[in-house]
Symmetry: C2
Subunit: 196 residues, 2 copies
């Protein structure tokens, strides 16, 4: 069974792409991030809510502030990656909904008037977009190093506000020497998929 997606693209995005732990010092430009965003912004979310927000950590002092909130094992790579991005969910995404969903602007008040509902929806949909973003980084010929080993409350306080929930930090760049462990196994189809 062959996919419609050509094999080179399959390799680039999934089969040969790996989570990098080391990087070369080749910079990642704003133009590259813009190209990634302009591709993955089309990935679907519920009610087109697109709650993902991206904080690019570019200044040395911001990098230093971030590294201290990372788990110890993640600090060296977060300090060394050409670019580091904090991905967060905007819990007030509903303010943008009338513009984002012009054929159904009343969704804002019908479904998202309550903050806990928004938080749950923002978390799920920003996570979908985080995955699209990781795929997009790979589509740009770069390696992503997504990490959840960090002090989330610390990162939120240091870089975000009460309306933005951090999801993960992603190192971005060209893979360096010994960039990854051997590929770990995956569950078989029968372990994951059941039919009713």
């Amino acid at each position: 069974m062959s996919l419609a997606l050509d094999p080179a693209a399959q390799d680039l995005l999934f089969r040969e792409a790996r989570t990098a732990n080391t990087f070369t010092d080749e910079p990642v430009t704003d133009e590259q991030v813009q190209a990634i965003y302009d591709l993955v912004k089309y990935g679907p979310t519920a009610f087109n809510q697109t709650p993902l927000r991206i904080t690019l950590v570019r200044s040395p002092e911001a990098r230093e502030r971030l590294v201290k909130h990372m788990a110890e094992g993640n600090r060296p790579k977060t300090a060394a990656a050409p670019l580091v991005a904090i991905l967060s969910a905007d819990n007030e995404f509903h303010e943008e909904l009338p513009a984002l969903l012009p054929h159904f602007p009343q969704a804002k008040d019908m479904f998202f008037a309550e903050r806990p509902v928004r938080e749950q929806s923002a978390l799920l949909n920003a996570a979908l977009q985080a995955a699209y973003f990781i795929v997009g980084v790979r589509a740009a010929g770069l390696a992503a190093g997504p990490m959840t080993g960090l002090d989330f409350a610390g990162v939120q306080k240091e870089f975000l506000d009460a309306d933005h929930t951090p999801l993960m930090v992603v190192n971005i760049g060209k893979p360096g020497e010994d960039a990854w462990f051997p590929r770990s196994p995956r569950l078989s189809f029968d372990e994951v998929v059941t039919t009713v």
Copy 2:
């Protein structure tokens, strides 16, 4: 700025791919689902935990049981799609961790001994895998119709168990007539990305 991913693949996965609301009656085979899984299983998750589980709703009686738990506006398309999949998060994913993470098997007990921690991690990481799955459906030349307008407790009780949290239901098939609304707008780069 051009991406490494070729333009045809960009179109197939993001730019021209759309959330379909109608489908032709061309079947979606198990071989196609297997090919999708064999591609997207490589998408990264924290500690390689891969908590996504997929329930393919194939029998007419199971389809009928599912449709009644969907929001009214989602019922006709869920009833008509060639294939419908329930995506869920396995909150007991840690049992598989020693096999999935052979270089660090102690992660199971060091990080995931407590159920609330597992639930939070399973939700985020299964959502990442749900997005990889949507991309994979598109890679197979099919349209995905992900939906969260449904009675989650009802779907869980009807098809899953207390250890599996449903995330969404996805209609899968070739797009039919009038399959989608005009593309809704997206936020601009400057609305989503900030630099520190």
